[in-house]
Assembly symmetry: C2
Homo-oligomer: 654 residues x 2
Amino acid sequence: MDIKSLEKAALSSRALSMDAVQKANSGHPGLPLGAAELGAVLYGEILKHDPSDPAWIDRDRFVLSAGHGSMFLYSYLYLSGYKGLTLEDIKNFRQIGSPCAGHPEYGMIAGIETTTGPLGQGLATAVGMAIAETTLAAQFNTAKRNIIDHYTYVLAGDGCLQEGVSSEACSLAGHLKLGKLICYYDSNHITIDGKTDLSFTEDVGKRYEAYGWQVLRGSMYDFEEIARLTEEAKKETGKPSLIILASIIGKGSPNKAGTNGIHGAPLGDEELALTKKALGIPGDFYVAPEAEAYFKVKQEAWKKGRAFWQAEFDAWSEENPELRKDWDFYFSGKAAIPEMPGFNIGDKIATRTAGSKNMEAIARANQNLMGGSADLKSPNAVTLADAKTFSAETPEGRWIHFGIREFGMAAISNGIQLHGGLRAFCATFLAFSDYLRPALRLSALMKQPVIYVLTHDSILIGEDGPTHQPIEHINALRAIPNVTLLRPADAEEAREAWIMAMEKTDGPVLLIMSRQNLTVFEKADPEWENMIRTGAYIVKKPEGAPEVIVIATGSEVNTALDAVAKANANKKVQVVSMISRELFESQPEAIRNAVVPPGVRVVTCEAGSRMGWERWAKPEDIMSIDQFGESGPSSKVAAHFGFTSDALAALIDK
Amino acid sequence: MDIKSLEKAALSSRALSMDAVQKANSGHPGLPLGAAELGAVLYGEILKHDPSDPAWIDRDRFVLSAGHGSMFLYSYLYLSGYKGLTLEDIKNFRQIGSPCAGHPEYGMIAGIETTTGPLGQGLATAVGMAIAETTLAAQFNTAKRNIIDHYTYVLAGDGCLQEGVSSEACSLAGHLKLGKLICYYDSNHITIDGKTDLSFTEDVGKRYEAYGWQVLRGSMYDFEEIARLTEEAKKETGKPSLIILASIIGKGSPNKAGTNGIHGAPLGDEELALTKKALGIPGDFYVAPEAEAYFKVKQEAWKKGRAFWQAEFDAWSEENPELRKDWDFYFSGKAAIPEMPGFNIGDKIATRTAGSKNMEAIARANQNLMGGSADLKSPNAVTLADAKTFSAETPEGRWIHFGIREFGMAAISNGIQLHGGLRAFCATFLAFSDYLRPALRLSALMKQPVIYVLTHDSILIGEDGPTHQPIEHINALRAIPNVTLLRPADAEEAREAWIMAMEKTDGPVLLIMSRQNLTVFEKADPEWENMIRTGAYIVKKPEGAPEVIVIATGSEVNTALDAVAKANANKKVQVVSMISRELFESQPEAIRNAVVPPGVRVVTCEAGSRMGWERWAKPEDIMSIDQFGESGPSSKVAAHFGFTSDALAALIDK
């Protein structure tokens, strides 16, 4: 190991990091200064990667879970020679247009494997990446050749380890015996408020041992020790490893190192000068020539490593044409849409149940669909046909028993999706979407097409009561950018919703499913299967121009059809099923007007809060639920709130 | 210990639970059947309580964290003789109008200390109750008398212990050495999906030891052992205790015990009959006479215990008139509103900073205000003046270093508030309100006036980028019933917002604060300090009738005033500051029309998503941010999104 060069690499990372933060007058120098040695040995000696082909499938993944230390990542991606990242970009740290955003943003630079910043989630997402690696290896490797064989590395700080999401995910990682997951813990004993002993005195190592992890300890400032501990971590193939590295936040700064003052603020001109002097940094945005030379040599070696893999992959492809066909499908990013089960008008079936029948067909046609439920497999009615459960014993399995860990589940699903090769889904009750919301936000921000199956979608679930009855959830989810929320109204719409979800490539899809049975209804629009893709279509069309349009979603389309039958027969009522309000609102005016002609009175009906329906109807024409629910049988709850077809009929006739 | 009677109590609880679930044809018999022995010894022998005065301040608290087992709680509250709970209520389990809801709902029956059902939160909330007990004891007990001296007990299941929120809260509980917190773990190895070994094989005991807890083990079916372990838990005054009780879900059911089939579904007529036969239960909704007699005797003893405390309290009151005065204030549920700092028109100050100055005055006047931040004390600008930090060494402290644990923080805050005597607040970035949202929902459902300080309220925070820039959050929070969201527009409004928050008694208040400086502006309405309590008032009034009304919130009122100065001077523009949209929308029409006269064109401006503004303006007149943000300096981010006073001026002039 070329210690001298690694030292120069660490020096250069420190130099770039503190200058970038100083120039931006904003940012977090504490971690990059404190963990620079790990970066040098990680990017230089440990990672299997090829910056000239950063999308290489069999690369090691590295996740900077402590995303505020983004300059750690940028500086090492730059030093390693990642394509599309220039010194100019680093000089424009935290400026619009620079890929070097305040926190690492997925898609901005190859080498950023996931967006981090919201603490704890990076580590949880890495668990998903390690799951993906494990199952792909089991499915594609042969006795002769390992074409999937890489590690997932994480750098986590105190914040990541305090957040509950990492507890959930790491407990599962231990259960699943993910031996190729290795987490470095930058243990600097400092958080924003001060020393960790203000709030965090638990024995982290013991906790991780309790999860079934191997726990190793060392110093952040000993390259050889870090490399040796990493080898030890790799040798333990039956457990993930936590490597606790004792460190000093802001190391190198004579007056601020070891204090919370350096966590999230520039050093200031004076301290910057003192630090540069102390470290022997001769100028601004300094890159030591020895570091440059070191990485230049590495780049050649990395290319060779990658070429070796390519040769293996080619030979494997030749030997296993069927596997190769599957591989190409897995990594195409495209879904296969199979023949789906049909339903008959008049059938009474919950959309969750109809969804499950569709999902069965989809899961057979898309063997790379992977996921599960947060311990609600049967109530969520999610299934992967006859797929095995993913476990240490059956790593080829695709069903994941996530346990009662919604947030961890969603963050892991992000990781499975981000890894490549697999399509991720997860499931829980709609009311508990709150638990996983921060991870869903990252799915949306990263435009990852994770499918969220959210069942039990309104007060009409009945007896479980207000804690389990969604009120605000549908609108609160719609409000997140890049989210496609689909609330199918019957079994046929549930089928189309599943197809729309599978076809989506650039953002999460939420399938909002009913617990209760709904009647499959006739659709007035013969083109409804096309029109539903605009977000809405006409279910019932009156003779002549409509006097009232009822816009309903999900189970309330049944309510609307019942209401029309009860309303004044002379009233010309059009019923619109709006499976996705946001999607419909984003359509060109002509499409919108064809379904909801302007100037006609609109009544809306959705068993959830009113927010946003004001665009479509006057406040007094919105039928909604704007208070917490009640525990009781579904029909009684509906009657209690006056949320019935009778009430809707009266509103139509008003 | 009268084992025979306890056995009959357990038998009666089982009988009531399975009959109630069967009659409702809905519910969860697994826990009540599996943990009935614990209930008997807990309610009969362990708890210090007085069902004839269930609000007794010094009672022990019991939290059924595994809320689905609600019949466990209802049956023992009934057997213990809690006021206002009848056998008829239990027969109406899960029916509208019965206080025996599907999951325990706070406020429905005295003895339900918190709403549970969303897993993990009960345990976290109990941590808050134990914190409240500890600090109140430190503040009020004297060398002579302990008037606050009770325990907080929890029953948690596998689900509670898998959820990250309990990890966060229990890590903090260990750190804080909460020796009077005792959690029974109903370890039945079964979850909804099947055996816990599908997903949950960690060493829970070791994990809790790592948190700094005492861990004890025993059987669910040995009354004396449970009592002995509880005594051991009490003896360990420097650590919370986890008592792991090995149990069998659905115990008593010959064919379903020990399986997931009995977790959440009625036994069915046949199995119910078999179970009754096996247990020797002679009828429906059976209460054994021995159990009745046993609790009757207990009731007398409990009353005596409570009378003894009352005598102590009276003596203490006499001895400590000053403390008694504080006590009365603490438990009055009312806030003191002190002289608040003034601000001058033209001052430039962030609302978070202005809020902090107000908070300082409020904290001095309300010594029972308790809370803290999730490791963002300085950025959130929250303070309790010169209060000490709450810790094992300084239990009289009121500031809580919650650590990087937002969800745990909010659930703990619910517990502090629910305990009585204290007013709870907590703080984080608005973008991370997603992390704590499930606990906020429970604050709202339980109408607990927890104050949430949520700073860094829009894209205008600048450099930290999209993960830290709220977009959908304000509307997503507004959508929750019973939530009062206040987004003050300058330092003066921040002061009024704090007063409104302190005066609130029946639901959470969210204070949405800016990171950036805002100019204190003149208010056209001389009555604005009253009018702001309606949710909105007129900031700028044109001569004569307005042609355009600009409704803005928070920092955008500054933007609106700048825009009006730039817009066509002949245009008659009225500017309205809407500190709370929901509050304003709930006002009578006359009040609304006085501020926003109908028929006038309205333009809205808020640096967040558009949802709900459609009630006030046409889609093209809504200035909003409906996509994820960007990392860059605040003014550049604003320019990038065209979210400027120039753009608003152009919209006004359109």
